[in-house]
């Protein structure tokens, strides 16, 4: 099957054929790829993101920010990790120990497992499962029960209020998020993220009709809105400002993680950042062409390059797109005030859900009317059609 050759584990198995590593079975390579992605990409990203967020915050508020640990304060996150590890481990004696312990597990699993279906490059994906997008939606739902149970187990009024808000918010915004993914599925006819990304290339040498359409975000006017709804919904799903009511400092102290100290809090924060990364990466893959570099993909230019370099460029392009979105998320934190809870629910059910439904129908009509062609293809078709008639 062509799909399986795109897996990390399968690729590694194929590469090691004929070497001394040949007897290593597939599942070991799957485990290795999971270790690499979680410990070398997901968790370090969570750590470094805290540093970057503080630096960005400082720049926007005309401060210096962390600058003591290492050059430019770069090792701040390592110092933070050491600090968190050496903090007192506190389990509320009046609370519920079992639930208090499993809550961070649910949050970390829910955020890290989303990485499986994210294609970092054309042949770099831990597991490009058929139901791709739906798989990511499914595993990230584990976060809501985790936060709710953790907050309840804390036996703290701030925590419970924050946890309830968080659960209600995450489940509400899941609907606009899922509905904003639907246009992409209507356009590409697949749930597989790798396939969706592949269809977003653009090769100037091919005739328009034979070409793949360009990035989904500019496929038609409705997908532009769908992109923004998905982004805003993602902010709410990950409890980011302006939707950070679950941990609103000014009213709930720290919200659902008030009683979580040291590394337990660290894992919650890490889980949140990893979730932000997964959300932004999904957005980049679904709407911004993933690892595709505009206008150069599939071109003769690529054939001359070694495959390793192409893979590196793909990963780089994908990471740049994702991190730009992460930067916007951090930027918004210092730009927008927090919503009130009734505004939050009103925005979701009265604003984003109807708009998302409208986008789904609009995209369906567009795909039907223009035989699945994108705005650019339609415009260029008109242009070239007009040219040939003269």
């Amino acid at each position: 099957m062509a799909n399986n050759s795109a897996l990390f584990a399968q690729t590694l198995t194929d590469w090691t054929q004929g070497t001394f590593l040949a007897p290593v079975p597939l599942w070991v390579w799957a485990m290795v790829s999971a270790l690499v992605v979680i410990y070398l990409l997901a968790l370090p990203f969570g750590g470094i993101a805290t540093y970057i967020e503080r630096k960005i915050a400082a720049d926007m508020q005309d401060r210096i920010g962390p600058n003591r640990v290492g050059p430019l304060g770069l090792f701040q996150f390592a110092a933070d990790a050491v600090k968190m590890l050496s903090k007192e481990d506190y389990v509320p004696p009046a609370g519920d120990k079992f639930l208090f312990n499993i809550a961070p597990v649910l949050v970390v699993v829910g955020s890290c497992a989303g990485f499986v279906a994210l294609p970092l490059g054309q042949y770099l994906v831990a597991g490009d499962v058929n139901i791709g997008v739906f798989y990511i939606l499914a595993v990230t739902t584990l976060i809501a029960p985790g936060i709710l149970l953790g907050s309840w187990a804390s036996e703290n009024k701030w925590s419970l209020l924050g946890g309830l808000r968080s659960a209600a918010q995450i489940v509400s915004y899941e609907i606009p998020v899922a509905l904003s993914i639907l246009p992409v599925i209507l356009i590409s006819g697949s749930l597989q993220v790798g396939e969706i990304v592949k269809q977003q290339g653009w090769n100037p040498d091919l005739p328009i009709a034979a070409n793949a359409h360009f990035w989904n975000v500019v496929h038609n006017p409705f997908t532009v809105f769908a992109f923004f709804i998905l982004f805003v919904g993602g902010l709410a799903e990950t409890n980011r400002i302006p939707f950070d009511l679950p941990e609103a400092e000014s009213e709930l102290v720290s919200g659902f993680n008030t009683e979580f100290s040291g590394m337990r809090f660290g894992l919650y924060a890490l889980g949140e950042f990893v979730d932000v990364f997964v959300m932004c990466a999904m957005l980049a893959a679904l709407y911004l062409g993933g690892w595709q570099l505009p206008f150069l993909e599939l071109d003769k230019f690529w054939i001359t390059l070694p495959s390793g370099l192409i893979a590196l460029i793909h990963v780089g392009v994908f990471l740049v797109k994702t991190l730009l979105l992460v930067f916007v998320v951090m930027w918004l934190r210092w730009t927008l005030p927090r919503l009130r809870v009734d505004q939050l629910m009103g925005l979701c059910w009265k604003g984003m859900v109807p708009l998302a439904l409208f986008n789904v129908l609009g995209t369906a009509i567009w795909v039907w009317a223009f035989k699945g062609q994108s705005m650019i293809q339609v415009a260029m078709g008109l242009f070239s059609g007009g040219g040939s008639s003269h």
Partner: protein
């Protein structure tokens, strides 16, 4: 199926049945709800083994993300309920429940390994239905083809459920 895969299947079965057992006998109703979540997850893994990955994801999205949250909300809504210790049911039926649960694991295991073998043994032209991407499409084809009436009936059912549920939850004056 290799032995490693069989082991994962067995773990999923034990997770499902064991969690279901805890749901039934645990006196703390909140713990019951939490273990229901794990039971749902185990069922999702078993769906995967049956080759129904779309159903597995639906199971997780709807049951873990929706129904569990709903049950947790329902429990937390009623203040006296999570202080309540449910004793009598658990003590009386614990032995038959454990026996039944232990009996269920081999049955599930046998059924799912057989199913997996059938998937493997399926003729090549049918293999695509199980193996690659068209599986979700097959469901779509069925929903729009032979099962179009149930598909529309679902809509009416969902509409009715929505109206009924919000009517029940509405404050009565």
């Amino acid at each position: 199926m290799s032995n490693g895969i069989k082991l994962i299947l067995l773990l999923a079965e034990i997770l499902t049945v064991g969690s279901a057992l805890v749901v039934a006998v645990n006196p703390n109703i909140l713990y019951s709800a939490v273990f229901l979540l794990f039971s749902f997850l185990g069922v999702a893994v078993m769906f995967l083994f049956a080759g129904a990955d779309f159903l597995a994801a639906t199971q997780v999205v709807v049951y873990v993300g929706g129904v569990t949250i709903l049950i947790l909300f329902a429990i937390m809504l009623t203040q006296w309920m999570y202080r309540l210790k449910l004793r009598d049911v658990g003590s009386k039926f614990i032995v038959p429940a454990v026996v039944l649960a232990l009996g269920l694991v081999p049955m599930l295991h046998r059924g799912l390994t057989d199913l997996a073998r059938m998937v493997k043994a399926a003729p090549p032209e049918k293999m695509s239905e199980f193996a690659a991407s068209p599986k979700t499409m097959e469901i779509g084809k069925a929903l729009l083809g032979s099962h179009v009436l149930p598909f529309e009936a679902i809509t009416i059912l969902l509409l009715g459920a929505l109206v009924g549920a919000v009517w029940l939850a509405r404050p009565k004056s």
